[in-house]
């Protein structure tokens, strides 16, 4: 818990700063709207966490999100009956892309940075080859409901997020979680103690693919079909995970902190917007904060290591 504390402090400070500028922010509707907006990125961060903590990268999630939304639109084409089969198909597709990423990385021994970069190119090219350049068809109202609608006062996406977060936290406390971290920490040692490293890492990629599918369903639901819905999400997700104190290279960090990192990033965007920081300076502020956050984490690292092993 001590390890993950800084990100929660930062998140709390940001939320307070937002609340100072906009007193309504902490009232349930506004706050739920904020959580709803952050949900896709938080889910992506949870998936990306699984890959990163096992010692790999997943750069393909952004284009996977775009591909999923475009596929959904074309296959559903406004029809209510097609909605649920297509949602199931999207989930399967997400898992499948993760499986391919994992197999190519572990069995063919291509560095995951390159595997997923290749997957990024292939997905973004293939999807528009299939649709002839621009999205076709339309999403049904039923599909949109998940990202747009709500159950009483609570948006569906917030409920889905809660389920995902609970599942992620549980999985990381279970044996699977320990194995995943062990593989990222030292895959050789893990292999020697009987862990099937390739299989564990492949599962991590499949979790990331699954997260991308869920995020795509929420994003497509929230804002509709667009050719650039997933643009830049891979970097945002990695940034969020790193903000949460998870080390690139694997073996350290908690999934709850990674998700808090995603919330922090979203809160940061909201805050910059609220205080009217010009759109131009936004990336610069973001850049400084990322470097600072990771640098602070790294400086404290030796002490933590002792704490963790003792």
């Amino acid at each position: 818990m001590r390890r993950t504390l800084p990100i929660f402090v930062v998140l709390a400070v940001l939320l307070v700063a937002i609340a100072v500028a906009n007193p309504y922010f902490l009232e349930p509707p506004a706050f739920l709207a904020f959580v709803k907006r952050a949900a896709p990125l938080v889910i992506l961060a949870a998936g990306q966490y699984a890959v990163i903590v096992s010692g790999e990268f997943d750069l393909s999630v952004g284009s996977l999100v775009t591909a999923e939304v475009v596929i959904a639109a074309r296959l559903i084409d406004g029809s209510a009956e097609a909605t649920w089969p297509v949602v199931a198909l999207l989930i399967v597709l997400g898992l499948l892309v993760g499986l391919v990423n994992g197999v190519v990385t572990t069995l063919l021994r291509v560095p995951s940075f390159i595997t997923t970069l290749g997957m990024l190119l292939i997905l973004s090219g293939a999807i528009f080859l299939w649709t002839g350049g621009a999205p076709r068809g339309a999403l049904s109202e039923e599909f949109r409901e998940l990202g747009r609608g709500s159950l009483g006062p609570v948006p569906w996406s917030v409920l889905i997020l809660v389920v995902v977060a609970a599942a992620a936290a549980y999985a990381m406390r279970a044996r699977f979680g320990h194995t995943l971290v062990a593989v990222g920490d030292n895959d050789r040692a893990a292999a020697l103690s009987g862990v099937r490293v390739a299989r564990v890492r492949t599962v991590a990629f499949m979790i990331s693919g699954l997260a991308a599918a869920v995020a795509a369903i929420l994003l497509g639901g929230f804002a509709g079909v667009s050719a650039q819905v997933g643009k830049g999400l891979e970097f945002q997700a990695i940034t969020a995970v790193v903000l949460g104190g998870v080390a690139l290279g694997g073996g350290r960090g908690s999934v709850v902190a990674a998700m808090a990192g995603a919330f922090t990033l979203e809160a940061l965007f909201t805050l910059l917007n609220l205080y009217g920081i010009s759109g131009a300076l936004e990336p610069a502020v973001q850049g400084v904060i990322i470097i600072a956050a990771v640098a602070l984490g790294a400086v404290r690292f030796p002490r933590r290591r002792v704490a963790a092993t003792s």
Partner: protein, 333 residues
């Protein structure tokens, strides 16, 4: 992701520095390049065209020069076990610095070149120090620096700015026979870095640091300094690419770097050339081959009028397949 590789490499011991710098992984990429050229020649012949026409040969070189220069720099940082994602925005920034200082006058060219080299060296220094002193992973460090430069660009520029005098445009447009000056500049940069890697102590140290930073440190290499210098040289290469692009465009443009996608594409070219992403293995010759491979592929796509989506698919497949083959060779050899 790198631990297995590292462990295996340490066991090579003894003369491993010298063997690695022999740059053997470059061979397959040149083989692929020759095959691709033959294929291109066939395709063009069937189409009634001429693959090795002057326009085409010049075009291939012109198209690859800027990426080539960036990729040579990227090779250095990757060999040292680092990475640079800030090259795109640095290229845009330096193209603007160059064009604005030149302001259309010949007299300002030396000042502009000096300023570009200074700015890019500074950015490289920042990258290197953040990676080594602050211990930020290179991916995040250079991504952060990229965002900072982007903020500065967005804040200050909203379109092409400055202007390059006619004399400086010779750099981008002139050629000696079939060899464009830009390609010669690329060759000069590549040759310098090749010399640096294969003939100097710094070169050996870069391989050593990328191969295993702990072993290098224990054998007395000041690893931090090596990584910083690699970053500085890489950024200077981006600055040179920025100068070249400014000369091509006749002005500086805040989007020229991002449009070119030089960050991921230069990394792709480097690994296509057989350099290990984890560092310590590979070299400039392979990178040059990787860039040429991409450029010839592009030229064939152009001839066939393949749309850009199909191009992306092919590029992705080529990239992954090439790396899978390299990994296989490494295991079997």
């Amino acid at each position: 992701m790198t631990q297995q590789l590292k462990l295996r490499r340490v066991s090579a011991e003894g003369s491993f520095l010298r063997r690695l710098s022999a740059d053997r992984p470059a061979r397959p990429v040149y083989l692929a390049l020759v095959l691709l050229i033959v294929l291109g020649w066939l395709l063009f012949a069937l189409d009634g065209g001429q693959f090795l026409s002057l326009e085409n040969v010049v075009g291939i070189q012109q198209r690859s020069a800027a990426l080539g220069i960036v990729a040579v720099g990227q090779t250095l940082v990757i060999l040292a076990g680092s990475l640079d994602l800030s090259v795109t925005y640095l290229i845009s920034l330096t193209s603007l610095v160059a064009a604005e200082i030149m302001a259309g006058s010949d007299a300002n060219v030396p000042a502009a070149v000096a300023a570009v080299l200074a700015v890019s060296a500074l950015v490289g220094l920042a990258n290197g120090l953040i990676v080594t002193r602050l211990r930020v992973h290179a991916f995040i460090a250079t991504l952060g620096v990229a965002l900072i430069i982007r903020g500065a660009l967005d804040e200050r520029y909203d379109g092409p700015a400055g202007s390059v005098p006619a004399s400086f445009q010779h750099l981008g447009y002139d050629r000696i026979g079939p060899l464009p000056v830009s390609a010669l500049l690329w060759a000069a940069v590549a040759a310098s870095v090749w010399l640096l890697l294969s003939r100097t102590r710094l070169g050996y140290r870069i391989y050593a640091v990328g191969g295993d930073i702990e072993v290098a440190r224990l054998s007395g290499v000041r690893t931090e300094r090596v990584v910083v210098v690699a970053h500085v040289v890489c950024s200077v290469c981006s600055g040179i690419a920025g100068l070249l692009l400014a000369s091509r465009l006749g002005a500086g443009a805040p989007t020229v770097g991002t449009d070119g996608g030089y960050d991921l594409e230069s990394i792709a070219a480097v690994v296509l050339g057989g350099t290990a992403l984890a560092g310590g293995r590979g070299g400039v010759a392979g990178t040059v081959g990787g860039v040429l491979l991409l450029a010839v592929l592009d030229s064939i796509f152009n001839q066939l009028e393949v749309n850009s989506f199909a191009k992306d698919v092919v590029r992705g497949v080529v990239l992954v397949a090439a790396l899978a083959i390299y990994a296989r060779r490494r295991r079997t050899s």
